[in-house]
């Protein structure tokens, strides 16, 4: 390569770099917003946008464990085998130093689903269909629920009267459901987990009464229910804080004679109940057995392990 060639090559590279800088500046969010609003305002009014019936593919339908975005991988089969074992976003490839568009979009879609799960409410019709007794904590809305955990574990006097009126005193088991941080989890799992639990308990000769549904529910609200109903075991099914893997994960918190102010260590928890974790029906069958064990041993949480 002679000197002239080298010079022209360097010039070309420099031109590319400078060009990049310019486009990067345009690509920065603030300036691009300005620019796009600018173009819209000059668009002739006669040119109306066309509405089509087309539907964009739902990118959250893609099974991430089967999607390998690395171009030309050394060992595709091995990579996919590894991906089978984890929901982590491995092998997403890259566009320069950044994520590919599909990866960024999927991340935002999953994040949006997680936020929706937190900020939406369990459908009232669903509560009716499942024959749940609707009650709520002292929180007045989602914002207060998020910012005041203390209120999410307390009930008003009237509410306590409602609970008493609708539950059996000193029952063997009191089952309750809480929206917690994912209403989506409640709607996704309840239809399958409740009958599995009740069927399992029936096998041990344990009957279950009315099931409570608590809006704006934090886990320790079950302690209040324990005190009010004097049930032997309280089982709370509650939506888990959603992540990017699923927004539909549910936990069961179960305690033997829970009471306000008891140590957290007295709760037994079965988490990760969702379609990609422990199936709801199987979890229900397991929970029934766990409740029976708690009654036999008169203990829960850490005490049960010893």
């Amino acid at each position: 390569m002679n000197e002239r060639d080298l010079k022209s090559m360097i010039e070309a590279i420099l031109a590319d770099m400078v060009g990049d800088k310019v486009s990067a500046a345009v690509g920065n969010p603030q300036s691009s917003t300005l620019q796009s609003t600018g173009t819209e305002s000059v668009r002739p009014t006669g040119n109306k946008p066309v509405v089509s019936d087309g539907v964009l593919d739902d990118i959250t339908e893609i099974d991430l464990r089967k999607q390998l975005l690395v171009e030309d991988p050394y060992d595709r089969e091995g990579y996919l085998k590894m991906k089978e074992k984890t929901p982590a976003r491995l092998g997403v490839g890259r566009a320069g130093p950044r994520y590919k568009t599909i990866t960024s979009l999927r991340f935002r879609a999953d994040h949006a689903a997680a936020q929706d799960a937190v900020f939406s409410y369990v459908d009232e019709n669903f509560v009716k269909e499942m024959n749940l007794i609707p009650i709520h904590t002292l929180c007045i809305d989602k914002d207060q629920y998020i910012t005041r955990p203390d209120l999410g574990r307390q009930f008003s006097e009237e509410m306590i009267a409602t609970i008493k009126a609708n539950t059996k005193n000193k029952a063997k088991v009191q089952i309750m459901v809480g929206d917690g941080l994912s209403s989506a989890a409640v709607e996704a799992n309840l239809r399958d987990i409740i009958p599995a639990i009740t069927q399992g308990l029936k096998m041990y000769g344990i009957e279950t009464g009315n099931i409570l549904f608590v809006k704006h529910c934090r886990v320790p609200s079950m302690d209040v229910i324990g005190d009010v109903t004097e049930a032997e075991v309280v089982c709370l099914l509650i939506g888990e804080r959603p992540g990017l893997v699923t927004a539909e994960s549910m936990s069961a918190y179960i305690a033997y004679k829970p009471t306000v102010g008891m140590p957290e260590a007295r709760r037994t928890v079965i988490s990760n109940i969702h379609s990609g974790g422990t199936p709801a029906v199987e979890a229900g069958a397991h929970i029934a057995e766990l409740i029976k064990t708690m009654m036999d041993k008169k203990a829960s949480g850490i005490d049960l392990k010893q």
Binding site: A196, Q199, I270, T278
Partner: protein
């Protein structure tokens, strides 16, 4: 929570009988905040017995009495009592499995060796057990690759193909070190197995019984045997004799196999130099081993050193036969162990149809298991679904309940085996349908197929799981 299971493996092969004791380590790998997940975390061989010749009676039957004495001696040597053995398997392999009293000896011995020591036999199972004992299964997993293990014993070569920890295929060829026997001193051929005789004739090689031979004289026929092995793993086009040499089936060979390992008695002479006296065992085993080492099998494929050679099968029987059921299961009685239960695996099409179809298929297929119109115990196996609704569980349970009516009449518990994680809820649903009057054993996370048998041991890990052995019982 950590627990240990003491396991025994006994291999009664064509030429030798041996025994190993293994420790299986069991642990709950799930966090405290989820349903338990109990798995075997480690397997270690803690005792290897002497190797004795498989004792035979004058009438060509297996001498069970002598084998019992051998087992007792080895237990004493290992310093363990029979009652301490919690699981394990006796496998009868090669020529020995074809003896008249093979089944009888196998059953007596499995009962004698320990309460939950199961009886196993069959060429496919032999291949799998040897391959796992040789470490091929683990190698395929750790190196994310595909590997074939050939266990070359006295009478047969057993092939097992593993890919990324999954068993893909098995095969068996009538090629082994003792198919031609040569007198240690006179170097006269004393025996040629029928199929090898056929091969000699076909190729016009001329070796005969009574002929005094040198290694050079034997080379042509040994070369033929090696070439058949090359054909069996797909690095040489299959010859006309290939189908004849295959015992029951060969590998399907629908993809190239990058790696190979060898086990069995002959393997020692593949990996190691030959001793001075190549006829020291009175057979062609050493020569066969050396020829394989000089063949394309050794040059064209990546050679993996087996972790066990002559003991691969017995280690496989001791360490790799016992599995653990899923950790959320149902059993309502404890009359374990349940032994030698044949499996009826339903077709997927029947499973996803209506519950009436499911019931009818079960009822129909149960007829296969009738001996003199009397129904044996049968375990019903289904695939199940990964994530099913409570309604689907009930559908499955009603279909099974109706289809198994005839089994419900029997004194045995109903045994259901599901692949996917749903056995606890399915078992509870069935138990409810049976008015809690008929016992149910419903386990999951176990893969079985038609033709398999299952043995189920006493509960372990605080009763959360059941140890199981999936096996075949095929005598030629």
């Amino acid at each position: 929570m950590k627990e240990e299971l003491l396991s025994v493996g006994i291999d009664m092969g064509t030429s030798t009988t041996q025994l190993v004791l293994s420790k299986l380590h069991i642990e709950n790998m799930a966090s405290s905040f989820t349903v338990p997940r109990i798995v075997i975390t480690d397997k270690e061989v803690i005792f290897r017995s002497d190797i004795c010749f498989t004792p035979m009676l004058p009438d060509n039957r297996i001498d069970a009495q002598k084998i019992k004495v051998f087992v007792e001696e080895q237990y004493k040597k290992a310093g363990i009592k029979k009652d301490e053995i919690q699981t394990g398997a006796v496998i009868i392999t090669g020529e020995t499995a074809r003896k008249e009293n093979a089944n009888e000896v196998l059953q007596t011995l499995s009962g004698f060796a320990g309460d939950f020591v199961v009886a196993t036999a069959g060429p496919d199972l032999e291949s799998i057990i040897a391959g796992k004992g040789a470490g091929a299964h683990t190698y395929s997993k750790e190196h994310s690759t595909t590997i074939v293990n050939i266990d070359i014993g006295g009478g047969t070569s057993n092939l097992a193909l593993f890919s990324h920890a999954d068993l893909l295929d098995t095969g068996c060829l009538d090629i082994g070190g003792r198919l031609i026997k040569v007198d240690q001193h006179t170097h006269q051929i004393t025996y040629i197995a029928p199929k090898i005789e056929q091969l000699i004739e076909l190729k016009g090689l001329g070796q005969k019984i009574g002929q005094r031979v040198t290694t050079v004289d034997l080379q042509p026929i040994i070369q033929e045997m090696v070439q058949l092995l090359e054909e069996s793993v797909g690095i040489r086009p299959q010859s006309e004799f290939y189908d004849t040499i295959v015992t029951n089936k060969g590998l399907k060979l629908d993809r190239p196999i990058p790696c190979i390992s060898f086990s069995g008695g002959v393997a020692d002479y593949i990996y190691n130099e030959a001793p001075e006296d190549v006829f020291m065992f009175g057979d062609i085993g050493i020569l066969l081993g050396r020829s394989i080492a000089a063949s394309p099998l050794f040059n064209q494929m990546k050679i993996v050193r087996a972790v066990e050679t002559i003991r691969a099968t017995v280690v496989g029987a001791g360490s790799h036969t016992t599995e653990i059921s899923g950790s959320t299961i149902t059993y309502t009685e404890e009359s374990f162990p349940l032994k030698n239960i044949p499996i009826l695996k339903l077709a997927w099409a029947d499973e996803v149809g209506s519950e009436q179809q499911l019931a009818k298929t079960i009822a129909d297929k149960l007829n296969w298991f009738k001996v003199n119109k009397d129904l044996q115990r049968v375990a019903i196996a289904i695939e199940g679904k990964k994530n099913l609704s409570f309604q689907e569980v009930q559908k499955y349970a009603r279909g099974l309940h109706a289809g198994m009516a005839e089994l419900i009449e029997r004194e045995y518990p109903l045994i259901i085996i599901v692949h996917h994680d749903m056995a606890k809820v399915l078992g509870q649903t069935l138990y409810a349908l049976l008015n809690y009057e008929k016992d149910v054993v419903c386990i999951d996370s176990v893969l079985v197929d038609n033709g398999d048998y299952i043995d189920i041991g006493k509960p372990i890990a605080n009763g959360k799981v059941l140890p199981v052995v999936i096996k075949t019982l095929v005598f030629n």
